[in-house]
């Protein structure tokens, strides 16, 4: 019973303490909690949470950086900076992924250079251009096709395909074909030709994408060639030597074609002159501009050639010197000595030390 009384007394004493005291106490508690993680710095650090990067611009006091205390100084500096970075990381939005708390990182702000240049979009192939023009859409085909002969699902092409042409043991000879012709051989040859044409078209697409010039259509192998195509083929073959056909003799009645070389195209004399005007103005603009138009490949090639020439000259000189020095051993020394003394003693060409004139 008398135990209760002190409690009542304490309670009244508590009531007499004001709210301000309670609030002050709570604030002090909070400050103490935050003391563990606050770090005071002159300048704020720059953060890049996307890269887990922090940059401290503050001046480092060289006095504290002596030999004996260096490691401790560095460790305390690192601890402060890491604490600030961790504070920054804990401010990021978090989510729970399979019982693990994960913070979502924003995009990195420090720009780092790429490894390789950005990929250039490939120009469309001949078929793709045609399909776009006609509005043909790609239809997705099933992987497996029902094979009636084997009564099972087989792949559309490849090993053990559904309708295998090559596995046929019987081919009907068509009505208009030669009875002695080998149909199996004919089929094989047709396939080889298709493969070769496919490869040729693929390479042509690549050449068009890279803007490399390839010989024209007339020189592609066709069964029947016209007179003009044959003549073109002969001319191209003639200039396909190392000296571009300069030393190829003509056949007895052959005439050298005079109209080879690039055709010059001229604008018409009458009609719309706006394009001509535009060309002249562009020319003036190019001449007027401060920045010179630089063809990078040409400049680089020129530079490389110059460097090669220089190094070649240097090597020649060095080699010459070394050679002479290398050969001058024993017997050479005596002779060289003699040779050296000779001209020195006798009248040589007067040296450039002529003094003032």
């Amino acid at each position: 019973m008398w135990g209760r009384k002190p409690r009542c007394v304490i309670r009244t004493k508590m009531a007499s303490c004001s709210f301000e005291d309670v609030l002050a106490k709570a604030e002090r508690d909070e400050a103490e909690k935050l003391k563990g993680i606050t770090v005071s710095k002159e300048l704020d650090l720059e953060f890049d949470p996307g890269n887990l990067l922090a940059f401290d611009k503050n001046r480092i006091d060289t006095r504290e950086f002596k030999d004996c205390k260096r490691e401790d100084f560095l460790r305390s500096l690192a601890r402060d900076n890491t604490q600030l970075l961790i504070n920054e990381m804990w401010k990021l939005p978090t989510e729970r992924v399979e019982e693990v708390i994960v913070a979502k990182l924003p995009d990195p702000t420090t720009l780092l250079p790429r490894e390789k240049p950005a990929p250039k979009p490939k120009p469309p192939t001949k078929w793709e251009q045609f399909a776009k023009l006609k509005g043909i859409q790609k239809k997705k085909k099933t992987n497996l096709v029902w094979d009636e002969v084997h009564k099972e699902w087989r792949r559309r092409w490849g090993y053990k395909r559904a309708k295998d042409d090559t596995k046929e043991w019987l081919i009907e000879v068509p009505e208009n074909a030669d009875p002695n012709e080998d149909q199996f051989n004919k089929r094989n040859k047709a396939k080889k030709e298709r493969v070769a044409r496919n490869e040729y078209n693929r390479l042509k697409n690549i050449a068009r994408a890279q803007k490399i010039k390839v010989p024209g259509m007339g020189l592609a192998p066709t069964p029947r060639q016209s007179k003009a195509e044959l003549a073109q083929a002969v001319n191209v073959a003639k200039i396909s030597t190392a000296s571009v056909g300069k030393f190829q003799d003509n056949l007895p009645k052959e005439k050298t074609p005079k109209n080879t070389g690039r055709k010059r195209k001229f604008q018409p004399l009458i009609g719309d002159f706006s394009s001509e005007k535009q060309k002249q103005l562009d020319l003036l603009k190019v001449m007027d501009s401060k920045k010179p138009r630089l063809d990078v490949t040409k400049a680089v090639n020129k530079q490389m050639r110059e460097e090669d020439m220089e190094s070649r000259h240097k090597n020649k000189k060095d080699f010459g010197k070394k050679g002479r020095r290398g050969k001058m051993s024993g017997k050479g020394k005596g002779k060289a000595g003699g040779k050296g003394k000779g001209p020195k003693g006798k009248g040589r060409k007067p040296q450039m030390k002529q003094g003032k004139r």
Partner: protein
């Protein structure tokens, strides 16, 4: 080289996948680095190279044999290696009387040398000498750069970018908060760079954010800056050019006012007020031949609204 890859078709699917992984992409994967030994290496340099390889595993290749290469004179050998192993970062270690304990950090763009920095090791403490637990392989380290030189001096700025590139791990969208264990701290002072590596211990503090304690771990270097080769400004700019698909498209018509509310503009067509869709009142519906009723209804409506 890429053109050649296209002309020579890959014969197997595996080789095709291999070639495609080496093609340039819109968003690139983590850069791998090659760690090369020079003509003559001292014990310090070899151990240093092994330690950096341990830090950078598995995206690093350690070349076991010695290579007689002089990167500052002729970088074609390094470019050839980078093409073969598809690595864009390199670390070349050598030792001679003139430049003892030399490490060259470098990076490539399009298999040509972009930047190279030669750093001499003055003091080195290896992983083996510090006998504490290490963090697992492949943890993304926290990077801290300290020192005003990293801000003011142009060479130090480039070096900072190079070191960030070298030591930052893969690009991730989210990170496990408890897994931030490794911190690499670089301090620049009077032409010297001090690199320290610590293990982060997260201790309880009163609030949600933990208190940090650091434990010495891993290799620590005292570098001195020697020669460097920095890329020209336009090459540097070209290397930073991002392709179009990568930049996020800016959403138009979104603005924020002082209170933080999101505002946008709606563009309306001109409205014909006679044909506005309002609440239907059956009593107001037009009946055949009862125009007076309409006017009466209109009159009746007016006082109603006044109420």
């Amino acid at each position: 080289l890429q053109a050649l890859h296209r002309i020579l078709k890959a014969k197997t699917r595996r080789s095709k996948r291999f070639l495609q992984s080496r093609q340039p992409k819109l968003t690139e994967d983590q850069k791998s680095s090659m760690i090369i030994r020079g003509g003559n290496t001292s014990q310090t340099v070899s151990q240093a190279l092994k330690d950096v390889y341990a830090l950078k595993k598995p995206n690093a290749v350690l070349y076991k044999r010695k290579n007689m290469v002089r990167p500052f004179d002729d970088s074609t050998a390094l470019e050839f290696f980078s093409k073969k192993s598809d690595c864009s970062l390199f670390l070349f270690g050598s030792h001679n009387k003139k430049r003892p304990n030399n490490l060259i950090f470098g990076r490539m763009f399009d298999f040509h040398v972009l930047d190279m920095f030669e750093l001499g090791i003055e003091r080195f403490v290896s992983l083996r000498d510090v006998k504490t637990d290490t963090c697992p392989e492949g943890t993304k380290p926290l990077l801290v750069f300290a020192g005003e030189l990293f801000e003011t001096d142009r060479e130090h700025q480039r070096l900072r970018s190079l070191l960030t590139d070298f030591f930052c791990g893969p690009r991730v969208s989210a990170v496990r908060l408890a897994g931030l264990e490794h911190v690499l701290h670089f301090t620049a002072l009077e032409g010297k760079i001090y690199m320290r590596s610590y293990k982060v211990l997260l201790k309880k503090s009163g609030c949600r954010t933990p208190r940090i304690q650091l434990q010495d771990m891993g290799p620590s270097f005292d570098f001195v800056m020697r020669r460097n080769h920095m890329a020209s400004d336009d090459l540097y700019k070209t290397a930073h050019r991002q392709p179009r698909g990568v930049k996020p498209k800016k959403k138009k018509n979104i603005s924020h006012d002082a209170f933080g509310t999101r505002l946008g503009r709606l563009h309306m067509q001109k409205q014909d007020l006679d044909k506005l869709q309002t609440r239907k009142m059956k009593g107001l519906r037009k009946r055949r031949g009862e125009q007076t009723a309409e006017t009466a209804a209109a009159a009746a409506k007016a006082p109603r609204t006044d109420e």
